[in-house]
Symmetry: C2
Subunit: 207 residues, 2 copies
DNA sequence: GATTTCGTCAGACAAGCTGTTTTTTGCCGG
DNA sequence: CCGGCAAAAAACAGCTTGTCTGACGAAATC
């Protein structure tokens, strides 16, 4: 039956949003402080000073929680800066600036992104659809950039637009970043210049 | 107390090896048939037609089982071919052939390797030390190759030996392969030539 | 042939995890 | 002053890993 009385939430809704945020921050914190360790709902609840059942009422499931975390990162993590960097008029500069911006964004949230991407690879449903949506956006963006590089005559001879899209996708991915950043202990800036140069030499005609 | 009688195993050891192999094959099969799904010891036991407790007596733990699976792949998966391909006299050909061999090996065991690598990234102890050992070997090999490319004057101006090692490491890793193979639905050969060309253009002076 | 040894099985068990449900506790809002 | 809702608390089912027990049978030794 419908509510017999209407409710204009003010303080209550605000409080609810705060607990929602506390939970998200707790997951984030847990992933940063103890990466490469299983994140249990119980520990998250303790860290957020919230009952475990509250997490389920707010996010529905474990997957929903990580999905929300991904969305949260998407909105606050600086993804938009990256998009605008790629979309500047000069496609070749867009390539460089896009990779650089991407790398810095990855570095800022490295542990959390590593967990999200690895979980998504092991079990597609474990993190909801966020990771796939995020990657789909990058796919689109890199295909566009490849097209624009071609239109501006920046592509090397013997490279098709499709191939350019593939290589851009490879060089702008989180895995490429993390392989160098974590796997080879390089600084953020070193990774950025290394990736940008590699992509440019692989794709573009010599300047 | 020590056994009071010595034991030279013949048939028994052979039978034990067979059950060990049945279990390893079962894990492999399970990972291939149902990737992106949790592999439980119970299902492996059923598939191998073995008691669950037997897996623990043979491999010690879940981590031990996956560790053994990694070792098994290391020995039978064609890793040696890749090493010899890299070590041929002409370093530049070694680069091309190494990447090609690598890619084909990755493709042959894609699902299993994906599971192993992702598990290792989420929890370092989950698969024992095999993945790390495997990657350490590749690190060594790629650093050597970078040095030899330099010695033979094949490196582009402005690329240090260290940088070459980093980029070789990036282009020969499983993630680079899988990003293109799975993430972009490319054929094995397409991935191989794409990666080989990208690496060569990023590293080497124009032919 | 008798006996020891060892691989395997079957099952019980504790502990931890997810996810659901039910009951209670406060406190905001009218 | 209550009605309604966020949240807590607790119990529950079901799955998982990992340990331990006792038993069985067949190979290896004597």
């Amino acid at each position: 039956m419908p509510p017999t009385r209407k409710y204009e939430q003010r303080l209550r809704a605000k409080a609810a949003d705060q607990t929602r945020r506390r939970i998200l921050d707790a997951v984030y914190q847990r992933l940063v402080e103890a990466p490469s360790e299983q994140v249990s709902m119980d520990k998250v609840a303790q860290l957020a000073e919230v009952s475990r059942s509250t997490i389920y009422t707010v996010f529905g499931s474990r997957a929903g929680l990580f999905d929300a975390l991904g969305m949260d990162l998407l909105h606050r993590g600086g993804f938009t800066d990256m998009v605008t960097a790629v979309l500047q008029p000069d496609a070749r500069r867009g390539l460089r600036d896009g990779i650089t911006g991407n790398v810095h964004m990855y570095a800022a949230h490295r542990d959390v992104l590593r967990a999200l991407f690895s979980m998504a690879q092991l079990d597609a449903d474990a993190v909801g659809g966020t990771v796939r949506r995020l990657e789909d956006g990058r796919t689109q963006g890199m295909n566009d950039l490849a097209q624009r590089l071609h239109d501006q005559g920046a592509l090397r001879d013997g490279i098709t637009i499709d191939q350019a899209g593939h290589l851009l996708w490879l060089h702008t991915g989180f895995d490429a970043f993390d392989l160098l950043f974590t796997g080879r202990s390089l600084s953020t800036d070193t990774v950025a210049t290394l990736l940008a140069h590699a992509a440019e030499h692989a794709l573009c005609r010599p300047a």
